[in-house]
């Protein structure tokens, strides 16, 4: 026998499940997008620090997906895993940045191409064909609006009155 309230509760339950599914789905898409964009950056960029930033971006995508799954299943597994991801990412960043500094001391720049002598034997060497000239816009740094005016440096006028 079905009580009158049961139907409503059931409908609310179904709506809740659909909402949770919806949420999970959306989070997984955003996580996948972050992961994919990070992959593109890691493969394409040449600056070691930017490459590392892209790896961190991929980790963020994974974290989002894990937390979404955790919420969906109603347990803490996803969040605990993300906490460990944070810890490992911190270690990784410390070590990697120390190594970047050492590599910079040897090579004088952060370019990945400097280390291409470590490539496989049968791979051909990468040579920069054309390096685009720096844009004008690249050298335009943001400036602060000038605050106040420069006082005139009239040395003859005494700044302070000697006698009141």
């Amino acid at each position: 026998m079905v009580a009158p309230g049961d139907g409503k509760k059931l409908r609310e339950g179904v709506a809740m499940v659909e909402y949770e599914l919806h949420l999970l789905h959306n989070y997984l898409i955003v996580g996948a997008l972050l992961f994919g964009i990070g992959t593109i950056g890691f493969l394409a960029r040449r600056n070691m620090i930017v490459m590392f930033l892209c790896v961190e971006m991929m980790l963020q995508g994974v974290s989002l997906s894990l937390v979404a799954w955790g919420r969906y299943h109603g347990n803490w597994g996803g969040q605990v895993l993300v906490i460990f991801i944070l810890a490992v990412a911190a270690c990784e960043a410390g070590i990697a940045l120390a190594m970047f500094l050492m590599l910079y001391r040897r090579s004088g720049n952060l370019d990945m191409i400097f280390w291409q002598s470590l490539r496989e034997e049968n791979q051909s060497e990468t040579v920069d064909v054309e390096i685009p000239e720096p844009d004008e816009a690249d050298h335009q740094w943001p400036i602060l609006t000038p605050a106040g005016i420069e006082p005139d440096h009239d040395t003859e006028k005494p700044l302070h009155r000697s006698h009141v």
């Binding site: 709506a15 809740m16 659909e18 909402y19 949770e20 599914l21 919806h22 949420l23 789905h25 898409i29 955003v30 996948a32 997008l33 972050l34 992961f35 994919g36 964009i37 990070g38 992959t39 593109i40 950056g41 493969l43 394409a44 960029r45 040449r46 600056n47 620090i49 930017v50 590392f52 930033l53 892209c54 961190e56 971006m57 963020q60 974290s63 937390v67 955790g70 299943h73 109603g74 803490w76 969040q79 605990v80 993300v82 906490i83 944070l86 810890a87 911190a90 270690c91 960043a93 410390g94 070590i95 940045l97 190594m99 500094l101 050492m102 910079y104 720049n109 952060l110 191409i113 690249d138």
Partner: protein, 252 residues
């Protein structure tokens, strides 16, 4: 394949094309306009499609709509700033855009009910890791831009790789969602949602230091080892270089 999936694939390809055009390289006048335009169109397509891809919400509940709007705003901020972080020429600018990505994803985590993680992401990533990045950038590249920030490895191939990866991930998701095995889990989980309770932090701590205690200890040890390792790397590099220069002088 339904229309929605075709459109989704088109959005992915368009997004990859836009990123390809926006990556730093010798740009023509057309590419400068086409890249951002294609990315924007694909972003709009994603926003239009993603709610429709899997299920049509039968009852349009007004209380959910506000949540959806907030979610899509946060997601747009996160994804746009991620794309900007990847494509900026100046590494300092990409680091700052990445900080915005982190803020967006922290807000997304908060939206999901993961309060501790949202704050921890900001503190650990934006507060510590990103600042260290900027320190190293200032140490290693004080003049700002270098020539290697204006060129890329294989921009087209990497954009294709990213598009294929996104396609595979979302397609796998779609098949598993329509397979019918996931909703069963949801029906059991939705009622006992342990995560959304008010004593969130206490429960997370109990879980972390109860069931995962050994893992926490291992992670602490790992942090310690990484600290010692980072110091050892820099210290050893310094003495090694000193020895090299000393040897060079002796030879000379």
């Amino acid at each position: 394949m339904s229309d929605n999936q075709t459109l989704f694939a088109a959005a992915t390809v368009l997004g990859a094309l836009g990123l390809w055009q926006m990556l730093p390289r010798a740009r023509s006048g057309i590419g400068r306009v086409v890249g951002p335009l294609a990315s924007l169109v694909s972003l709009g397509l994603f926003g239009y499609l993603a709610p429709r891809l899997m299920l049509d919400l039968n009852q349009s509940d007004t209380s959910m709509i506000a949540g959806q709007v907030i979610f899509w705003l946060l997601a747009a901020v996160t994804v746009i700033s991620a794309a900007a972080a990847v494509t900026m020429r100046s590494p300092v600018y990409s680091a700052i855009w990445f900080a915005l990505t982190l803020l967006g994803s922290a807000a997304l985590l908060m939206f999901q009910g993961a309060q501790f993680l949202a704050v921890a992401t900001i503190v650990v990533y934006a507060g510590a890791i990103l600042v260290t990045f900027l320190f190293v950038l200032m140490l290693a590249q004080p003049e700002g831009q270098s020539h290697y920030d204006r060129v890329c490895w294989e921009p087209l191939l990497s954009a294709c790789t990213g598009a294929v990866l996104i396609g595979i991930l979302t397609l796998a998701m779609h098949t598993s969602f329509t397979g019918g095995d996931v909703p069963v889990v949801a029906s059991t989980a939705a009622e006992s949602s342990d995560i959304l309770t008010t004593d969130h932090m206490a429960r997370l701590g109990a879980e972390l230091f109860g069931r995962h205690l050994i893992a926490v200890e291992v992670a602490g040890t790992l942090l310690m080892v990484a600290l010692v390792g980072a110091i050892a790397i820099t210290a050893h590099g310094r003495t090694g270089r000193r020895k090299e220069t000393a040897g060079g002088r002796r030879d000379g």
